[in-house]
Subunit: 196 residues, 2 copies
């Protein structure tokens, strides 16, 4: 690594820490991962981990490397109106997962959330504040919290069955095949009458 | 513990091992739990664990303590016909989870499956062979494997959101409130036209 510029080595060091963190969070989960162990794997001083990421939460959030920006994603999904919104969410959601080799950071997030209360709290906050509630509110059919939580049951369950339990034929189906199957469920949760 | 009868102490010993196993599987997951550690917690010789449960798989299955017998559950659900089958599945499923204090063994199963490939394989087999496929086949609408997997996405997702991520209002809702919300999704997956 060449050491030029004002803060030599920063980019490489940061990347080495992130790689070690992704490995640790993904295999051991949030609770069992220590900043010290991440620093050791990355071959850097523990103080540098704090320097770059502030805290374990900061390191975790950075390690998630969400391959999307919820702040632009949700408005984009809603921009085309509510018609077909359920199918568009399925395609976008699966696109994010399928576009991540081995589903590494997404699986790491899910695993940590299922195993550790603090990760569950983080994921719940991320989902609710940045994705689910804005989607449900944007759909404009009332009851945004209930609709957001119902949406979550189907979307998170789809990920668990497809990527964790790998139940066929859902595990091998394409997003184009799954969108018309699961999309109507999301459409009803977001826009339909909930109890008929 | 009194030591009377032909095999003195068997019942208490077996129970002590099961308690230790539930604790270990529930907090550490399948992979990180060793028969030796379970035996130590239970205060028994490791050979007794093998004596009672045969293997780690055998101990895990016993520790799951499924509060239901799939062999009678599925026929009971189907006995009333397909009308309202989706809602009945929601009520039965939530009844099983809610009837288990702290959702201990069910949560342990889910946590292990998300963290460990071998547990995922066990749970996938249990779900497919004993519950999902018989339900989908019994509903008689064709495509039983696809319908079974779709059913799994919604049912497992409901458990993850309600008991793991605890997203409100789904976390605190009653089974009676959730049945008409989620039931129609299961009804469509099992009996409806899948693509309209």
């Amino acid at each position: 690594m060449s050491r030029v510029g004002r803060r030599p080595g920063d980019s490489g060091t940061r990347q080495a820490i992130l790689s070690a963190a992704k490995e640790a969070f993904g295999t051991q989960g949030y609770g069992a991962t220590s900043l010290r162990a991440v620093a050791r794997t990355a071959g850097v001083d523990p103080a540098l981990v704090t320097h770059f990421f502030g805290s374990k939460d900061g390191l975790f959030t950075a390690a998630l490397e969400l391959p999307l920006d919820p702040g632009t994603l949700v408005p984009a999904l809603l921009a085309e109106g509510v018609d077909g919104l359920g199918e568009r969410i399925v395609r976008t959601f699966l696109g994010v997962w399928d576009g991540t080799p081995g589903q590494g950071p997404m699986l790491a997030m899910l695993r940590s959330a299922v195993s550790h209360e603090d990760s569950a709290t983080m994921l719940r906050g991320l989902l609710q504040r940045l994705i689910l509630r804005p989607l449900a509110a944007g759909a404009g059919a009332g009851d945004p919290d209930l609709r957001a939580a119902l949406l979550a049951t189907q979307v998170v369950g789809l990920a668990v069955i497809r990527y964790v339990l790998r139940l066929e034929p859902v595990a091998s189906a394409t997003a184009d095949e799954l969108a018309p199957l699961v999309g109507p469920t999301l459409q009803r949760y977001l826009t339909g009458p909930l109890v008929t």
